[in-house]
């Protein structure tokens, strides 16, 4: 029975492991791995010297820094506000709750270009919000700040929608127990409410972060796209392509891919640890 207990053929009364694994691997290869390998090959075709030159060029570094730091910042903001929003939606019933609940999904559904145009119109120096801030010398549209605003906008639903079901499952009686045991509100939040939802919050954070790193449509309208200042990495890739510099575009793309993969892998490892400890979440 050695074959039956090997890693590839696990004994189970539920049939279909072989065929399901086959389909999974084929689909994953065709849709994800093959294009990525092609990308890697394209990037490699540039030769070591060119790869190094593109990688270390100030414009590439500035674009990558803006993309990743901007995405990180936006994901952090989303984690805090998305978490509060989810908690309010779960714990309280107020007029308009369903409306707000539905509105959370809009950034998912909207074509990102529409979002970009809308944000640019509002935050431009002559827009509703922009005109209020302009007298104080705060510029949002056409600056890195504008990039963040767009990234926060597109990432919010991820945090809300991952945290919401976990909060829903968490009975209110746990909060009541903490209050009756004499815990203040802050102690309850940080020791009782937050720890069980950290894994979900982390998932939402990663999804929001990943979405923000890859975001293109909404950002280019509000960013102004000044090289070295408000130019994001995905835009740099498009610019390289328009200049027929395919290898250069592939190198920037490859750098984004490696950094993203590393970050997401890291977060998944943290999560796996939490899951082992407290059971499934």
């Amino acid at each position: 029975m050695a074959a039956a207990t090997s890693v590839w053929r696990q004994p189970s009364i539920l049939p279909g492991f072989g065929i399901a694994l086959g389909i999974t691997l084929s689909a994953l290869s065709l849709i994800v791995l093959v294009p990525l390998v092609a990308l890697a090959l394209k990037a490699a075709s540039a030769g070591p010297a060119d790869i190094w030159a593109v990688t270390t060029s100030p414009r590439t570094l500035a674009a990558l820094r803006l993309s990743f730091l901007g995405a990180l910042f936006a994901a952090c903001i989303n984690a805090v506000f998305g978490m509060i929003l989810a908690w309010v939606l779960v714990r309280y019933d107020f007029p308009g709750r369903r409306f707000i609940d539905a509105a959370v999904d809009l950034p998912f559904a909207l074509p990102t270009a529409v979002a970009g145009i809308a944000l640019a119109a509002i935050y431009a120096p002559n827009g509703w919000v922009g005109s209020l801030l302009a007298p104080y010398g705060i510029k949002i549209a056409y600056t890195p700040l504008g990039v963040m605003v767009a990234l926060i906008f597109v990432g919010l639903p991820f945090v809300v929608r991952t945290v919401q079901p976990v909060l829903q499952e968490m009975q209110a009686d746990v909060e009541e127990a903490a209050a009756l045991l004499g815990a203040g509100r802050w102690r309850t939040i940080f020791t009782v409410i937050l720890p069980p939802i950290y894994p979900a919050l982390l998932t939402g954070f990663v999804l929001a972060f990943a979405r923000a790193v890859g975001e293109y449509g909404s950002v280019i309208f509000i960013a102004g796209n000044v090289p070295m200042v408000s130019e994001i990495a995905p835009l740099l890739i498009v610019i390289r392509l328009e200049q027929f510099d395919y290898a250069g575009a592939a190198v920037v793309a490859m750098l984004m891919l490696l950094i993203s993969f590393g970050l997401i892998l890291f977060v998944n490892l943290i999560q796996a640890r939490a899951r082992r400890r407290f059971g499934d979440v």
């Binding site: 009541e176 903490a178 009756l180 045991l181 004499g182 815990a183 069980p196 407290f278 059971g279």
Partner: protein, 348 residues
Amino acid sequence: MSVAVTIESIEKRFDAFAALRGVSLDIQPAELVALLGPSGSGKTTLLRLIAGLEQADQGRVLFGETDMRDLSLRDRRIGFVFQHYALFRTMTVGENVAFGLKSRPRAQRPEPAEIRKRVGDLLELVQLPGLDKRYPSQLSGGQRQRVALARALAIEPRVLLLDEPFGALDAKVRKDLRAWLRDLHRRTGHTTVFVTHDQEEALELADRVAILNDGRIEQVGSADDVYDHPATPFVCEFLGEVNKLPVKVVGSQAFFGDRPVLGGLSQNQGGQAALYVRPQHLRIVDDLPLALPGVVEHLRRNGPLRRAEVAVQGLAKRLDVDLASQVAPAIGERIRLRITHGSLFAAA
């Protein structure tokens, strides 16, 4: 440490639904009181009101002499045990039990070593020594509920409130925990109120039982009081199986049809009435006065007892009769029944 709890004409509505309609109850220090009732009777709402987790529309709750609303949740020092444990699952058993002590203001907080010792003592008390490093997900239901109790006892509560504490557990564990809780209460002497829909649990555990129905207290009394002398038909039916006989009271006797079935009545209530008789209060007798003739239609085994279903002429429902002796009548046999004890309620 324990304190008397006085509940004064509490009323509570949830939108259109009146959960409590004027409930008053005095609970003595160190007393163990059960709130018993069917679901929707308001018993859990009343418990949550005592804890301050709900606010009354009318009336007040006093702890000793103090109105509960003058105290913050922390100062009320209420130990509350939830039906579904409500343990903090990201904390170990030890951290769960220590939570209340660690939540105290810095000046009143015991030293870490003292907290560790208290947690050890409490886990000893709930018979879970050495489990302080486990997580709640690694415990059985009965163990979790005992951790929840230890956590509630850690704050040295003035009142201990338990909301269907054994509701989510299986029958065997419930019985064990029941005896254990009775013993624990005898040793610690906290004023305790617990909610249950299980009349057996309430009768066995509590010093006094308060039976709730439809937002009102129907009767409060010791187990013997409420079981043997139910104040209302509802209490009588809720506390156990019962046969109902329409009777007519004339003088000191109750008549079923034109046949006297129960004598020696002291109540001066003539006219139509309903006689409630428990199965164990019907005895098969030889020909005697005050006997009710019937035919045995069915025999059943009910745990340790054997039970006969007896058809009586003029009564649509067969009477349940617990058989006292080993000698059972045969099916189809004609017998006579004598009512040894019954509760009489005026016909509605």
